[in-house]
Symmetry: C2
Subunit: 291 residues, 2 copies
DNA sequence: ATAGCGCAGTTGCCGAATATCCATTTTGAA
DNA sequence: TTCAAAATGGATATTCGGCAACTGCGCTAT
């Protein structure tokens, strides 16, 4: 018994005549009659009573009819749902973000939602390195992380650059708006990221390029705590610009780092290179490219 | 897209290899590959990713898989449910009863329930004439009513005969156990049924056969009220035996009617003659015949 | 009352579409 | 390069739908 036969049966029940049902199905009546007989044989019981002007549905027939409606409807829904998922109109976008503070990212989501209103989301916040692992494990499809990225099995879409700022407690003497790495060097630094990752690596790079060693106190991946520690003059730090925008109101001094254009962090959207993305994710990438 | 293809797809997803799925489906690998392509074409999106040792299911594919499981399962359930209804193991028995007091009828239901535990019931109590109409309108399949029946488009299964009793208030002088119609004649009678129906008709018949006219006060289809009226010596009445068993404790005299064997009422099971009964109803008839 | 007519459904047969198989080629991974 | 898995091509078999003829039933008209 297949879907086609169910459709036939539905037509027969609703038209209450085989010939009328055949007309509705755009076919001739003999094959319809045969299919009905085939179903009755397969199910081992009469489905309709052929007597009188209109045929009557038996109890078994009406049971089948009810279920047939359900099945065919489910089938239609399935088809359109799969097609929608295939076209990215429906489905789930699983994405990890490290720095949600990237300017305009909420706006991008808003745009995406407007264009694809039936997409649901799974947004995870975590460290860049962990997000990479999640992408690799196919737990999430996309991730917005801090670059650079040590591995090359990812496709990367560079989103934006941003300068780094040197921050200290208000207790310290003020500089002008800018400060050089050489001037920073004596300050004990608390890094805003884990060793081996993007920001960490970038800062060390910049120092080593001018043959200096920063004074490292340690690292702290909790930004609020880091800013509290800086406020308390526990240490100074170097943080990306968006972070300052995001955590305003701390009594700290912030100075743009001058003398080198290299100390800028970038944020990028990554996904697994040789793996097919869901259409929803593809659409998301496309949209973010055009903004 | 039909059920067969859904089964194919389920096998492919679960085996994660087309060739393995083909083996499980007892078919060769090429047609399965083709069917998969056909589905992908019809749905307009890739369903699996053919790369690596095992193929991977895309989001659209997993959507389809989930629904396919549901549909195929629903299909199986439908098939077995319809087959059960066809065999009378399942379904609804719709029956009307006039005199539920018929000896052993509850026992019959109990037996039936034991034999066919998944049957549900719709039991209606009403006048015999109304039950006939309900059977004719196909609102109920069976009815247990008082005979005789004026119409012949029903099949009838005679269930039992029972004698009639003459009942009066205790105020009246006692007879011996029996009484003849001739003795009854002068008593004003309140009939326990509506004019033109079984009991009514039977009593008049018996009188006319011995060329007598009973003294008719009227009729009352509410048995409790009728017995109350007899108790109050409003009138006497003639009622079938089971009715006395059912309504005991009324201060009345009851006398078996002697002299004629004709004044007995029967109870019968009826159903529409030229119409197919549900298997459940057929089973019920069969069971009641063997008791 | 019976013959005849028409409608609805069934049966039988044929042609076309399509599902399956086998053999082979292509692809991708180790 | 080799091997396994999937895709392709061609042949065959199943089956599905259409057409024509037959049956069964109810209605009408003579």
């Amino acid at each position: 018994m297949d879907i086609r036969q169910l459709r036939y049966f539905i037509a027969i029940v609703e038209e209450r005549k085989i010939s009328a049902a055949a007309k509705r199905l755009h076919m001739s009546q003999p094959p319809l009659s045969q299919q009905l007989q085939a179903m009755e044989k397969e199910l081992g019981s009469k489905l309709v009573e052929r007597s009188g002007k209109y045929l009557e549905v038996t109890e078994a027939g009406s049971t089948l009819y009810k279920n047939a409606l359900e099945i065919t409807q489910l089938m239609e829904e399935t088809k359109s749902e799969v097609m929608e998922v295939g076209r990215g109109l429906n489905g789930k976008l699983t994405i990890g973000v490290n720095t949600f503070s990237v300017n305009g990212l909420p706006k991008v989501f808003k745009h995406f939602q407007k264009k694809y209103p039936n997409i649901t989301y799974k947004i995870q916040q975590n460290e860049s390195s962990h997000l990479c692992q999640l992408v690799r494990d196919r737990m999430i499809e996309l991730a917005i992380i801090r670059l650079p990225l040590p591995l090359d099995d990812f496709s990367v879409l560079h989103l934006c650059n941003e300068p780094f700022y040197f921050i200290t407690s208000k207790d310290h003497p003020s500089f002008n708006e800018e400060i050089s790495l050489t001037e920073i060097q004596p300050y004990p630094l608390l890094f805003p990221s884990t060793e081996g990752l993007g920001v960490h690596y970038l800062i060390l790079e910049a120092f080593s390029r001018i043959k200096l060693q920063p004074t490292i106190v340690g690292e702290c991946s909790d930004i609020s705590l880091l800013l509290d520690l800086v406020t308390a003059d526990f240490a100074a730090s170097i943080v990306p610009e968006t972070l300052l925008h995001r955590f305003q109101g701390y009594p700290i001094n912030a100075y743009r780092i001058s003398g080198t254009t290299d100390l800028t962090g970038s944020v990028g959207l990554i996904w697994l290179k040789d793996h097919s993305l869901s259409k929803a994710a593809q659409n998301f990438i496309e949209l973010i490219q055009n903004v």
